[in-house]
Amino acid sequence: MKLKYILGAAAALALNLHVGPTMAQQSENTLRWTSNVSLTTVDPYFNYNREAMLLNGQLVWDTLIYKTSEGEYLPLLATEWKWVDDQTLEFTLRDDVVWHDGEPFTVNDAVYTFNYISDAENGVNVQSNVNWIAGAEAADENTLRVSLKKPFPAALEYMSTLHAIVPDGFFGDTGQAGANGRLVGTGPYKLAEFVPGDRIRVEASDVYFDGSVKGQPTFDAVVYRTIPDTSTQIAELLSGGVDWIWRVPPDQAEPMSSIPGITVSADETMRISFLSMNLRDIEGGNPLQDIKVRQAIAYAINREQIVEQIVGEGSKVIQSPCFRTQFGCVKDANSIGYDPEKAKALLAEAGYPDGLELKMTSYRSREWTEAVSGFLNAVGIKVSASVLDYSNARDRVVNNQVHMLLGDWGSYGVNDVSALLNNFFTLSEDDMAQDATVSEGLLTAAQTADTDVRMENYDYAVRRIAEQLYWYPLWTHPTTYAYAEALEFQSHPDENPRFFESKWADQ
């Protein structure tokens, strides 16, 4: 694949192309964007891709409340909300909202949505996004009451980003979006065309409610197309076939940034990479059970160099096993830096003066994996690395077949460490450390509404994970965007491109 990018860029530059996006889309006030994700369902619950849940989800549908990239909650379909107790949330709903077909939005729609998604039988893909909801009921004609199965302080994080409200009866008996004949939302754009796996066209709604934090639609239409090949996406942007692409490979971003009419920007996201160390018993012994070996691994890796030369612009080295804006994240929990001599000394102290052999798996990037392996090899740790897809890499972790996992997690943009650490340190089969005290701290924090208690427990868990080097925090992931220069676009660290904020410069 990399060869393709290089060849493509080389040919484009060699031909000295004078390219720039056409102005047609601007005059039609349409935004056309593409990504490699094939959207096979249009609803926001049976497609876990960010493209579906956050983009079309938030253009066509609305959540009860809205979360800014700084983590502030603002009213959307609900004007007010409060915790009645630590297992009950109450929302006062707007009474001036209508669906795209003109029918009024009522509390029954919200009740249906929460009761449908929380029923495990209905099979929402990511159950952990919804399985803490017990159900919902109407307290009166404008008040929604959502009951939780257990205290879950991060509830509003999920409800403000992932829980789009759909019309009553939306999934019908078949479970398909719009099975009730009403494939409509309350969002600023209405669904105009959906070709599974190919395209989604949404058009400005003329009934969107005034006073929404999303504002009135700025485009007449927004069109999403799936283009699986990155080179073709770039070609479409250069030839004016699309206006916006993202996740541009770093080696392509640089040549593109010099092309007139194209803006390239790389921004940090909430997704972090980490080196997870396996402390469980492994047949034949596990050297990683000795903290000196784990420290040697950490000292051996030059994260700054990897970030600068491979991961690329927008990425930063992190010193804590979490993203800094997440609730519960302790800053600078780890102080280890690159020191290969110290790494060798620690290995010798641990009884491995001639080095040792370890197995590692990863699922994101071959280049990153090779870079980490290279630094470890340099201090005498021979790494047998396998780059797999996520589920197979996870299988190796679950089946205790590797010493290390070079992993990453985006937390779904949820600004709470429970969305990150609770997946990996609560004694589940994904937990390579199996530290009962960390697990207890995380579970206590996740099930308590008291902020001080939560912070105290997270503080303990985060510091322990860092100090014991269960995870060696590596870097944040950048996302590189490339788009037509005339498009006003602002990116956010939660990796959520808010197209309702964008517009063409002359509109």
């Binding site: 893909n125 990511v126 479970g175 398909q176 070609a235 076939g241 589920s391």
Partner: protein, 305 residues
């Protein structure tokens, strides 16, 4: 002749059975559909819940027999991703692949056969060298590179043709050329070799001695025999174009079954992958059977084999 056809059809059915077992076993070995459906952020409990909901926790042979029974009754199953019947998903995509495959096939034949005839008529001449050079390039250049160069020149630079999509006829031009270009060398070389061979045979010498005009000799007498081997190879090439255009359809984001195959593999949607493998295998079996029948019709000696 009927015995011959039945024998060949029987072999085709056996091939299809073997392919279906392989398709089922390999997709199950390669994909954990529960983990794939649940997504990157799913917990172990999420995955287990999906495993039970879809019946992935049943023994593999029981899943296979249930699946095979459904296939035999014409039910290709339900797409885990699209939450609708696989047959519906596949039928939506088939026309694009058919049009692309047929266009590329016709283009390949229209270029390769005349070029092969010209090269065969004048071995070692400049036109022969040109044709052979063209064939070497066709075999040496990876088709994805050829496709990308086509996009750079005709879409980015000249802006004559769209870089992707399958919603207008212009979208088919670059992919059809890229697909045909890959198939042309084999067809051209076979035509050339067949022509050289046939033109040296006695009956051609006789035809010439009788004073027939050269075009008549070449087109009516030589070509008919020279292209016999082409029939079998062309059938395989057409099968390849209908089923093997995964790379081209993916590069050009064309909504055909090749792209659907790629999409279903990356999205881990085994029922669609299995259905596509069986459909493509059926194409091959049918085309090979057709080629066998045509060859047997042209050359009765083959019927006894």
């Amino acid at each position: 002749m009927l015995n011959f056809i039945l024998r060949r059809a029987g072999i085709g059915v056996l091939v299809l059975m073997a392919v279906s077992i392989l398709a089922f076993a390999l997709t199950n070995a390669a994909i954990d559909p529960a983990a794939a459906i649940a997504g990157d952020s799913a917990s172990a409990d999420d995955i287990q819940a999906i495993r039970e909901l879809y019946g992935f926790d049943r023994p593999l042979h029981i899943q296979f027999f249930a699946w095979a029974q459904d296939i035999l009754s014409g039910d290709l199953g339900q797409s885990y991703r699209q939450r609708r019947p696989v047959s519906e998903v596949v039928m939506e995509r088939l026309p694009v692949t058919m049009i692309l495959g047929a266009s590329a096939f016709v283009l390949a034949l229209v270029v390769a056969i005349p070029l092969g005839i010209l090269a065969g008529l004048r071995p070692n001449s400049w036109i022969d060298r040109l044709a052979l050079g063209f064939a070497v390039l066709g075999q040496a250049i990876p088709n994805f590179w050829f496709a990308l160069m086509g996009i750079v020149i005709f879409s980015v630079n000249l802006r004559m043709l769209p870089a992707s999509g399958s919603d207008k006829w212009q979208s088919y031009v670059l992919p059809a050329i890229a697909l045909a270009y890959y198939a042309m060398p084999t067809l051209m070389r076979l035509t050339r070799a067949g022509m050289i061979d046939t033109l040296q045979s006695d009956y051609i010498r006789t035809a010439r001695a009788k004073g027939l005009r050269p075009p008549m000799v070449v087109l009516k007498h030589a070509l008919r025999n020279a292209i016999l081997p082409l029939v079998s190879v062309a059938a395989v090439q057409l099968g390849m174009m209908l089923g093997g255009s995964v790379v081209i359809e993916t590069i050009f984001a064309m909504q055909g079954i090749g792209y659907l195959a790629w999409e279903s593999i990356t999205l881990s949607d085994p029922p669609v992958v299995q259905a596509i493998v069986i459909i493509i295998a059926s194409f091959y079996v049918l085309l090979t059977l057709l080629a066998d029948i045509i060859n047997a019709w042209l050359d009765p000696r083959l019927r006894g084999r």
